[in-house]
Symmetry: C2
């Protein structure tokens, strides 16, 4: 028989992405189809199985080469049993996705949450390629994350490991409430939502800034204004960077990873953001814990989910 | 051949403790001899090998049953290579302890730092028995720690994982400098040294307290005064408990361990301290991340080091 292949499925609210990887994490083939969330759970499950089968059928590979299918889903999961307890964007509740797919596809299936899976993708075949211990941040609507130790996702007792957005890093005196109900979570300052909120607050209180039409403002607008020298916007971006750097300093004495990988929309701010994060990290991290530790941008972009899902089979 | 046995060695500045464990982590035999630090590196190395051999010779077990020897040392180590880069209390520098012992004993040897090893002992055969993911704190002169994921010590890129005493948890406005040079480390408030310093400061500035002869005060004196209702002492202990609880809240969204284990001299404060830590943890931790998570006292006491060292062989 020829080489093993690994199928990854990234289930989003609108589209389901599938991909085929080899044992090195190279993405050999991809396909994308509609999730059809509005048609309900049965259709969604059927589509996942269908697309996973189709991509192999329409590829130069044989189904017999498939070593397993990994699936990434946003939501609350019972990871060991592959049960989706609640996936708000799919409106799915208490579905055993693992046993459904294993029954339909007759191959090993592993399910994990989207942030963990994206982190594994980057660690396996992206910015962390060749590195066994890393921590990944995804700076998007919220701040997601994943912790990879010895090449594997750290899932935690209730699947709550890697919830880096909820590290309470902002001191009480300047903390605001997070969507989770707690105060001072990292995502209140370092997510796109946090950046937008800080910009709106600044405009509402009359700060002198070039940010004016804040109704539909995006994090990118704030970052662009900061790059162009707007002091208010610059402070907002610095604050996002500061607490990211502080959280990394902290994780360095807990896990001492070789690499921090940052992806998601906000990370597109590029070196402007990264330089500030590194400066804070440098200042607040113990010498031994920061030596040769890298803070780098994710490289797989939207493919991280599919690649990481495929990687579940090798790295479980 | 009969069952495998595992030899653990806990190298301290004054005494070297050795022990024999079975595969369940039961301590079958122990022995303790002088380190003879003042006689220099050669004597120390010789003693380690001698005691490890003697304990087996004088036991009902055969040397052939020894699956390996694990060694815990306080200091800066190159863990994968078993090199003691610098052990201040032993005055040892750049010694390949692993290869020395493997040569002398003709058996697999693994070396790790004392805090990691004690954590592994508790996780394997102490308060964490049966639990694969836990975080251990040792509240002594400093705050040591160890992170156990999937039953194994997380060592980190440069062996700096589990340095929980250096989590920068105290907000800048009330932070003091740690021995490591950074500000606001957990051990500035939650170690015996931190508690003593806070008591001395309180007396020096004239706080009204029953703590008077602070020259040779111990952390236990402060804890006892707190238990008896001294408000100043109570505040000091609460502060130690508060930042411990906050650090656990934080680690729960990063690693979501099943259990936090607290050992070391300060932990002897017992339920008085633990109740306060749990209250803070309960308040600051996300619901899903704290569900059924336990905060418990270490159970192996001074044997944790020997047991954990033996465990290195099984859990590496």
């Amino acid at each position: 028989m020829s080489q093993n292949i690994y199928v990854g499925v990234d289930v989003g609210g609108t589209t389901i992405k599938v991909g085929i990887c080899n044992a090195d994490g190279d993405l050999l083939q991809t396909y994308e189809g509609p999730t059809e969330t509005s048609k309900g759970t049965d259709t969604i499950l059927h589509n996942i199985a269908q697309y996973a089968r189709d991509i192999v059928t329409e590829s130069p590979y044989e189904w017999e080469q498939v070593a397993g299918v990994g699936v990434g889903v946003a939501g609350f999961l019972d990871i060991p049993n592959g049960i989706v307890k609640f996936a708000p964007n799919l409106k799915i509740q208490n579905v055993n996705l693992k046993s459904y797919l294993e029954d339909k596809l007759q191959v090993k299936v592993l399910v994990n949450n989207d942030a963990n899976v994206a982190a594994l993708g980057e660690a396996w075949a992206g910015a962390g390629k060749g590195i066994d211990n890393c921590v990944c941040y995804t700076l998007g609507t919220g701040v997601g994350g994943g912790v990879i130790i010895n090449g594997k996702i750290v899932e935690g007792f209730a699947g709550m490991a890697g919830e880096l957005g909820h590290i309470a890093i902002v001191p009480d005196l300047e903390a605001i409430q997070c969507g989770c109900g707690k105060m001072g979570c990292l995502e209140t300052v370092s997510s796109a939502t946090g950046i937008i909120k800080m910009a709106k607050d600044a405009v509402a209180r009359g700060d002198r800034t070039t940010l004016v039409s804040v109704e539909n403002i995006m994090a990118k607008d704030v970052i662009d204004a900061a790059k162009e020298g707007d002091e208010v916007a610059a402070r907002i971006v610095s604050r996002a960077a500061y607490y990211l750097g502080r959280s990394m300093a902290l994780l360095s004495v807990v896990l001492n990873p070789e690499c921090f990988i940052i992806g998601g929309g906000v990370s597109k701010a590029g070196e402007f953001l990264f330089a500030q994060i590194r400066e804070v990290y440098e200042k607040y991290t113990q010498n031994e814990a920061k030596e040769n530790v890298k803070i780098v941008a994710a490289t797989l972009g939207n493919d991280a989910g599919v690649v990481g899902a495929a990687g579940l089979i090798l790295r479980a």
